[in-house]
C-alpha cells in the first residue's frame, strides 16, 4: 500500500472516530444538507460544527456544493468503501501473523544456539 493510501485511511478513520461526525454522515446519507441543517440536532456552536465539517471534508467524506448562498454538503462514500474493502480488513490479520512468524523464528534460532 502506498503512503498516500495510508494517509487517506488515517484521515478516514480519524474522521469516523467521533460521534458527532458519524451523525452528520448519517444525516447526509439521506441527502444533501446545509450547514445549518447539519448543526440543528447538536448543541454546538457554529465554529465547532464547521470544524467537524472541515475534518469530514479533508477526509474526502463530504463535498461542498457550489451554490454560494447555502453551500449544501453532500456525502461522498468512496473513502468508506476503501476502509471496508475486503483486503484492508485482512491487513491487521497478516500483520499479526507476521509478528508471530517473527517470534517463532526467534524461538527456532534460540533453540539452535542452545543445541
Amino acid at each position: 500500500m502506498t503512503a498516500a493510501v495510508e494517509d487517506r485511511l488515517d484521515a478516514t478513520f480519524g474522521a469516523l472516530a467521533n460521534a458527532t461526525r458519524r451523525a452528520m454522515l448519517a444525516r447526509l446519507a439521506q441527502g444533501e444538507a446545509t450547514v445549518n441543517e447539519l448543526a440543528e440536532p447538536f448543541r454546538l456552536s457554529l465554529p465547532a460544527i464547521s470544524k467537524h465539517l472541515k475534518v469530514l471534508e479533508r477526509a474526502g467524506l463530504i463535498v461542498r456544493g457550489q451554490q454560494a448562498q447555502y453551500r449544501p454538503r453532500t456525502l461522498d462514500a468512496t473513502p468508506l468503501r476503501e476502509v471496508s474493502s475486503w483486503a484492508e480488513q485482512y491487513r491487521p490479520v497478516w500483520e499479526a501473523r507476521l509478528n508471530r512468524m517473527d517470534s517463532y523464528l526467534q524461538e527456532l534460532q534460540r533453540d539452535e544456539e542452545d543445541a
Binding site: 483486503a87 491487513r91 490479520v93 501473523r97 507476521l98 517463532y104 527456532l108
Partner: protein, 165 residues
Amino acid sequence: MVEKMPDSVTIERMFPAPPDLMWKLWTQPEHFASWYGPAGSTVPVARMDVRVGGTRLLCMEVQAPQGLRRMWFTGTYLEVAENQRLVYTDSMADEHGTVLAPEEMGMPAGHPTTTEVRVHLEPVGGGTRMVLTHIGIPEGSPGAVGWAMALDKLADQLTANDNTL
C-alpha cells in the same frame, strides 16, 4: 480524487533469517502450524502438497464462547520456486476440502470466495526481505485457474479410480 483500490493487501517485512529458513516456515506443516493461527488457536491439521497443482488443507481450531470452533481452509499451489516465491489460493472449506461460500461462514459481504496469497523472498544481507500479497480473485477471472487445476486433478483421480474398479 480517489483512484480505484485494487482488492489486495501488500506487506513488506525484513526477517533476520535466510530465505531457506523462511521457506520452511511457509511450506513445512509443523512450522507453518506454529505461527499461522491467531493467539489461543491451534492448527490441528495442515496438509500441504507443495508443488504446482498440489492442494493444501488447513484446520484452525479457535476457542469460542460456544466451545471449540473448527474452521477449514483449502487451496492449490500455483507457483513453487524454492526459497524464492510461493503462490497459493485460499478458500474457506469443509473438512473434505469442499469450498464454501464466505457468506455461509459469516464473512462480510464482498469477501471473495477464492483469494490468492503470494510470498516473495529475497536475500538481503544475512536476512530476508519478504513481500506478501493477498489478493481477492473475482470468479471466472484468469486467477481462478487454480480451481480449474484442482478440479482437473480431481477428475483425473476419479477416472483413475474407475479404471481400477
